[in-house]
């Protein structure tokens, strides 16, 4: 009996449990294989379809039965660790959250994130994101703000959305400023606009990062095309609830003569926008 006739015979993967029910369908995956400095290829594999199967299941099947050399980073398989980011049929997505039965018929193409340097096959080096993170001044409460803090729900509720980020960096990958224009030295990227927004809106934070975000962070490079929002697996409204509020805060400070007059009349020369720390 060949694998094709009984595909579960050689599988020991818990990710492909026959009890879940084989669909009888054979899936074809075109998976990128390659390393830096060499010409990569799209390798075709046939995988038995299983009810409820996600693309990561198919990749695991390939690793354990067809190509043990295939490299793929993953961890939780629950769409919470953000490790298995890749591009499925040309669209950035989590391998573990993309069901194969929701994809169009035909071969499924799986490739690594385009915006980051390749390590091997589906694994990319996303470490530059952590370098960007270091440039952002962390949460800094007032030294004399006695604890325990009492924070009203209305002051903190909108930050919950920002905190849902799992740092999968799909938004960084799809952002055309980073992906196509290679402005990673000039633009923090959507994920870090979310981080800045969550810090700026925090009622207990005392620092001001608006000008930093505009200059070093390159906020002006974002032209609101909302691809980051489209691919976010946590459904964070990155553009509407992080980037646009930051742009409006910048406009408060530098593009609003009425507020400038108001600040002068109040004797506030610190250029602080209304409501800022």
């Amino acid at each position: 009996m060949t694998e094709m006739e009984n595909p579960t015979a050689t599988s020991t993967s818990d990710d492909l449990d026959p009890a879940q029910g084989l669909t009888g369908e054979t899936l074809t995956l075109h998976v990128f294989k390659g390393e830096p400095g060499e010409t990569g290829t799209e390798q075709a594999y046939e995988v038995p379809g299983v009810t409820g199967m996600v693309v990561l299941d198919a990749i695991h099947y390939i690793q354990r039965n067809l190509d043990t050399d295939l490299a793929c980073r993953w961890n939780c398989k629950a769409a919470k660790c953000g490790s298995c980011s890749a591009e499925i049929n040309g669209k950035p997505a989590l391998l573990c959250k993309t069901r194969v039965d929701e994809l169009p018929a035909g071969p499924i193409t799986v490739r690594p994130l385009k915006a980051f340097p390749l390590v091997k096959d589906l694994v990319t080096d996303v470490s530059r994101n952590f370098e960007v993170n270091k440039e952002i001044p962390p949460f800094t409460p007032a030294k004399d703000d006695g604890k325990p803090w009492r924070v009203a729900q209305r002051d903190i509720s909108r930050l919950r959305e920002h905190r849902m980020c799992i740092e999968c960096f799909l938004c960084q990958d799809v952002c055309h400023v980073l992906r196509d224009h290679d402005h990673s030295k000039r633009f923090y990227g959507p994920r870090f606009m979310v981080r800045v927004a969550s810090l700026e809106m925090h009622p207990k934070d005392t620092l001001d990062r608006i000008d930093l975000t505009r200059k070093a962070g390159g906020m002006g490079y974002c032209n609101i095309t909302k691809c980051c929002t489209e691919v976010c697996p946590e459904h964070i409204h990155i553009t509407d609830n992080a980037i646009i509020p930051l742009k409006e805060r910048y406009a408060d400070r530098h593009w609003d003569p009425l507020r400038w007059v108001g600040r002068k009349l109040k004797g506030d020369g610190s250029k602080q926008a209304e409501g800022s720390k």
Binding site: M4, G40, E46, T109, K114, C222
Partner: protein, 268 residues
């Protein structure tokens, strides 16, 4: 299960800024093309009606078949003289306000950057053309920061459109209810929805605050911000519906002026 032979040679990982476009099943070009055609048609129509039809349209307002209706392109009535130059119409003076309001709108930026400038045409498909990108860091993109001022001006124009819609209920000293009246009311409601679902409005009513509890009128501003945030979720829908309704009302009134049909109405 078989491992098949490599199906395609690809030029490496492409890397950052590479030109390889991924294979996609979805027709990514459909949405930008639709937006390009629809938005482009509206821009051409609005310039045509403002530049070449103003004199005729404004003077025809007194005509019977125009009834109590005033095209939203020509409201408020400024800069018109009965024997003036055709280009000196209300629309030529007023139209820049709503056009700039929409041109700097956060939603329309997405629409035209994708459809007209291909920056990018769709998500993860590549730029399709190579050039230096500055986004909104330089002129003219940086002028989008003036959005709130165009919003203020557009709100003033909106007041006049409400007055026009209310005045359309009376004609020749009688109460008047025609199809055009209803179209004008729907139009001004959609325009109000578009204006007040604006991201800048959401920011100004409370989004700019860090601590609602300590701000003046903080509780009220939080509720207001929450309400405007809900409205803001429908901003794209209002953007397209209001754009369509403005054109539709203008076309309707223009057809009445040309006697194509008579406005179905009741008077009382």
């Amino acid at each position: 299960m078989a491992q098949l032979s490599p199906t395609a040679e690809v030029p490496g990982h492409a890397g950052v800024g590479g030109g390889v476009h991924r294979r996609r099943e979805a027709p990514w070009w459909l949405l930008p093309l639709t937006v390009f055609l629809f938005l482009g048609a509206f821009i051409v129509y609005s310039f045509w009606t403002a530049m070449f039809q103003g004199f005729k349209a404004d003077c025809a307002l007194a005509a019977y078949h125009c009834g109590p209706y005033l095209s939203p392109f020509y409201s408020p009535q400024v800069g018109d003289t009965p024997l003036g130059h055709p280009f000196n119409s209300s629309a030529m003076w007023i139209l820049p306000i709503p056009l700039l309001f929409r041109a700097t709108c956060y939603y329309y930026r997405k629409a035209y950057y994708r459809s007209f400038f291909w920056d990018p045409p769709a998500c993860a498909v590549g730029e399709l053309r190579r050039r230096e990108y500055h986004g909104e860091t330089r002129f003219p993109g940086i002028l989008n920061n003036l959005h709130r001022y165009f919003m203020y001006a557009a709100t003033v124009v909106l007041v006049f459109l409400w007055i026009d819609a209310v005045e359309a209920f009376t004609y020749n000293g009688q109460w008047y209810l025609g199809l055009g009246t209803l179209l004008m009311v729907v139009n001004v409601i959609l325009l109000t929805g578009y204006t007040f679902s604006c991201h800048s409005v959401r920011h100004l009513v409370g989004g700019g605050l860090n601590c609602f509890s300590k701000a003046r009128l903080g509780a009220g501003r939080f509720r207001l911000w929450h309400w405007f945030s809900s409205l803001n979720e429908h901003h794209p829908s209002y953007a397209w519906l209001s754009l369509s309704s403005v054109a539709l009302v203008d076309i309707y009134i223009r057809l009445l002026q040309h006697g194509v049909f008579i406005d179905p109405h009741i008077t009382f």
